[in-house]
C-alpha cells in the first residue's frame, strides 16, 4: 500500500474540486425521489396528460408507505448503476490516456496503493450519495404519505451498499485494463448486466447468491419484511466485489503505464 495516503488525499481533494461530492448526491436524490413523487402525483398526471371526457373519475388507491419505500432501491437500480459506471470509468483509463499515470508511477506509489485509493474515494462518493438520496427521499415520503421506519430504511440502504460497491469494483477493474475510458465503461456495463441478470437463469443456488437478490433483500428490510435471508446474497455480492478488486489490482500491475 505504498503511496496510498497521498493518493487518497488527492482523490478526496479532487472529489471536492470537481464538485462531484455535490452533484452526484443531487443526481442520486433525483433518482430515488422520483418514485414517491410519481406515485403521489399519478392521478393528477393521468388527469392532465390524457384527454378524458369531463366527469371521468380516476380511482387509484393511495400506495402504502411500505410499498413506496420498498420501491426506492429497485427503481434506483440500473440507472444508478449506469451513473456509477459513468463516474468511475475514466478513473484509471483516463489517467493512462492523459499521461499523468506515467508521472504517478515514476514515483514510489504501488499499484495496490493507487487502486485502493481510487476504490475508497469512488466508494465513499457513491455511498454518501446513496445515503443522501435515501434520506431525502424517505423524508419526502414521510411528508407525502405516512411515517417511515427510519431504522429499517437505513439498514436496508446499508445492505444495498455492497451492490453499488460491486458496480464500482467492476468499473475500476475494467478501467485498469482498458486503454479507453469509453471502452472501460462499455465492458463494465456488459459485465454488470451479465452478473445481475444471468444468475436468475442458472438455478436456485445462483439466484440466492446473486447481487440482484441483494436488491430484493434490501427492499424487504426497508419494508420491514420478517424472515429475510440476507447472508447468501450478501456473501455472493461481497465475493464478486473481492474478485473484481483483486483482478483490477492484478491487471493494473500487468498493464504497462
Amino acid at each position: 500500500m505504498i503511496g496510498f495516503m497521498p493518493m487518497l488525499s488527492k482523490e478526496l481533494r479532487e472529489l471536492g474540486s470537481s464538485l462531484k461530492i455535490l452533484y452526484i448526491p443531487i443526481v442520486f436524490t433525483l433518482l430515488t425521489i422520483m418514485q414517491p413523487v410519481t406515485l403521489k402525483m399519478l392521478p393528477t398526471l393521468l388527469k392532465d396528460a390524457s384527454n378524458l371526457p369531463e366527469g371521468t373519475i380516476i380511482q387509484i388507491p393511495d400506495p402504502s408507505v411500505i410499498d413506496v419505500m420498498g420501491s426506492l432501491l429497485p427503481k434506483f437500480g440500473s440507472l444508478g448503476s449506469i451513473i456509477i459506471i459513468l463516474i468511475i470509468m475514466g478513473e484509471i483509463a483516463g489517467e493512462r490516456a492523459s499521461g499523468v499515470m506515467a508521472m504517478v508511477f515514476a514515483k514510489p506509489i504501488s499499484y495496490v496503493g493507487y487502486f485502493a485509493a481510487k476504490l475508497i474515494a469512488g466508494s465513499l462518493l457513491v455511498i454518501v450519495s446513496l445515503f443522501a438520496g435515501m434520506i431525502i427521499s424517505s423524508y419526502y415520503t414521510e411528508i407525502m404519505f405516512d411515517k417511515v421506519d427510519w431504522l429499517d430504511a437505513m439498514l436496508g440502504t446499508l445492505l444495498y451498499v455492497p451492490y453499488i460497491l460491486m458496480t464500482v469494483a467492476i468499473t475500476l477493474c475494467c478501467s485498469a485494463f482498458m486503454k479507453s475510458q469509453v471502452g472501460a465503461g462499455g465492458v463494465a456495463f456488459v459485465l454488470y448486466l451479465v452478473l445481475t441478470m444471468v444468475p436468475q437463469y442458472l438455478g436456485s443456488f445462483f439466484r440466492k447468491v446473486s447481487p440482484s437478490h441483494l436488491v430484493d433483500t434490501a427492499s424487504n428490510v426497508i419494508m420491514g419484511v420478517a424472515d429475510t435471508h440476507i447472508v447468501a446474497p450478501l456473501v455472493g455480492t461481497l465475493v464478486l466485489c473481492s474478485v473484481f478488486i483483486a483482478a483490477g489490482m492484478l491487471l493494473l500491475r500487468r498493464q504497462e503505464v
Binding site: I2, S9, F105, P108, E256
Partner: protein, 305 residues
C-alpha cells in the same frame, strides 16, 4: 557501482522490435546525452529504466537495484520528467509539488522549502498559485523538471527536456542541467545535438533499437578526431584533388570550385604535409582553417557506419 546499467535490453511490441540490444553502464555524476533519431528507441529505453515498461528480455539496474524486482525502491532514488509531462490539471503548481513531496515522505517544512527553491530555480515561482491546466507546454516542462528534483534524486531522467521550450527556455534548462550535474547523474535523451554537446559528459548513441556507442565525451571526440581542414585556393590549373589523393593522411576530399574540405586522420601530419604540397605546386590559398569534428558529424558517422 554503476548508477545505471542496462544489459542486453530488448523490447517487442507485437511484431515490431523496438529495442534489440541496449547495453551500457554509467558511473558517477554528470550528464549523459542519450542520442538517437526519432523512433530509435530512446523513450522505450527510458520507460524501462523508470520501471514504466517491462523489457521483453534483458536487465536494468539503477543504483545497484534491479528495476524489475525493486521498482519501488528505485523510484525513491530517481527523478523523471517525460517528454510531455502531464499533471492533475485542477492542482496548482504548488499543490502538485506538495503532493509529490508527501509521496516521498518529506516533512512539511522541507516540502515548503524545496517547493520554493525548485520553482524559483525552474522559473515558475510566480505561477505557483495558478492551476496547471492553464500552463503552457514550456511551463509544464519546467514544472516537470522541478517536481522530478524534489527528492534530491541520484539519477535524474529527462526525456527530451527542451523539446517544448522556446530558445530562452532551452537556454535556462540547459543552464540548470549544467548546474545540477555536479550533484547527480542526469540521463537526458534528445535529438538536438548542439544542446548535448554543450552539457553532456558522456554520450550514448542508439539507432534502430541498438546502442552503437557509449563513451565519455572527451574520449569520443579524441577517438573520432578525424579533424578537417577547410581550404580555399586561388584559381589554378593544377588538379589539387589528384595530388591530395596520393597522400594517405588525407582521407576524404570534398570540393566545390576552389573550396576544399579535407578529412584528415592525423591532423599534425596533415598540417605539415598540406602547406608543403601547396607551395611545391605553386598553389596560393586565401583561407586555411582547421576544425575538429563536432558531435553532429560524429553522430552521423556512427549511425551511418
Amino acid at each position: 557501482m554503476s548508477i545505471l546499467e542496462c544489459n542486453k535490453l530488448a523490447k517487442t511490441f507485437g511484431d515490431v522490435q523496438s529495442l534489440k540490444d541496449v547495453s551500457f553502464a554509467i558511473e558517477g555524476k554528470g550528464c549523459i546525452g542519450f542520442l538517437g533519431a526519432n523512433g530509435a528507441g530512446k523513450t522505450t529505453t527510458i520507460r524501462i529504466i523508470t520501471g514504466l515498461a517491462k523489457p521483453t528480455s534483458g536487465t536494468v539496474k539503477v543504483v545497484g537495484y534491479d528495476v524489475m524486482k525493486d521498482a519501488l525502491h528505485i523510484r525513491k532514488e530517481i527523478g523523471y520528467c517525460p517528454q510531455a509531462p502531464a499533471f492533475y490539471n485542477d492542482m496548482t503548481a504548488e499543490q502538485w509539488m506538495h503532493w509529490v513531496g508527501k509521496i516521498f515522505k518529506l516533512g512539511k517544512k522541507e516540502i515548503a522549502a524545496r517547493t520554493e527553491e525548485l520553482l524559483k530555480l525552474c522559473g515558475i515561482w510566480e505561477a505557483r498559485h495558478r492551476a496547471i491546466g492553464g500552463f503552457s507546454g514550456g511551463m509544464k516542462q519546467r514544472l516537470g523538471i522541478a517536481q522530478a528534483l524534489i527528492n534530491r534524486p541520484k539519477l535524474l531522467v529527462l526525456d527530451e527536456p527542451v523539446s517544448a521550450l522556446d530558445p530562452m527556455g532551452r537556454y535556462d534548462v540547459l543552464k540548470l542541467i549544467e548546474k545540477l550535474k555536479s550533484d547527480m547523474t542526469i540521463f537526458m535523451s534528445t535529438h538536438i545535438l548542439d544542446d548535448v554537446e554543450r552539457v553532456a559528459d558522456h554520450i550514448v548513441i542508439i539507432d534502430k533499437g541498438s546502442v552503437l556507442l557509449s563513451q565519455p565525451m572527451d574520449e569520443l571526440k579524441s577517438s573520432y578526431k578525424e579533424s578537417m581542414i577547410h581550404l580555399t585556393i586561388e584559381p589554378t590549373t593544377v588538379d589539387l584533388v589528384s595530388i591530395l589523393q596520393t597522400e594517405p593522411v588525407f582521407k576524404k576530399i570534398h570540393h566545390e570550385g576552389n573550396s576544399f574540405t579535407i578529412e584528415c586522420g592525423d591532423i599534425g601530419a596533415a598540417n605539415e604535409k598540406l602547406p608543403q604540397l601547396l607551395v611545391s605546386h605553386g598553389i596560393r590559398f586565401t583561407n586555411y582553417r582547421v576544425a575538429e569534428a563536432n558531435l553532429e558529424q560524429i553522430f552521423m558517422k556512427v549511425v551511418q557506419s
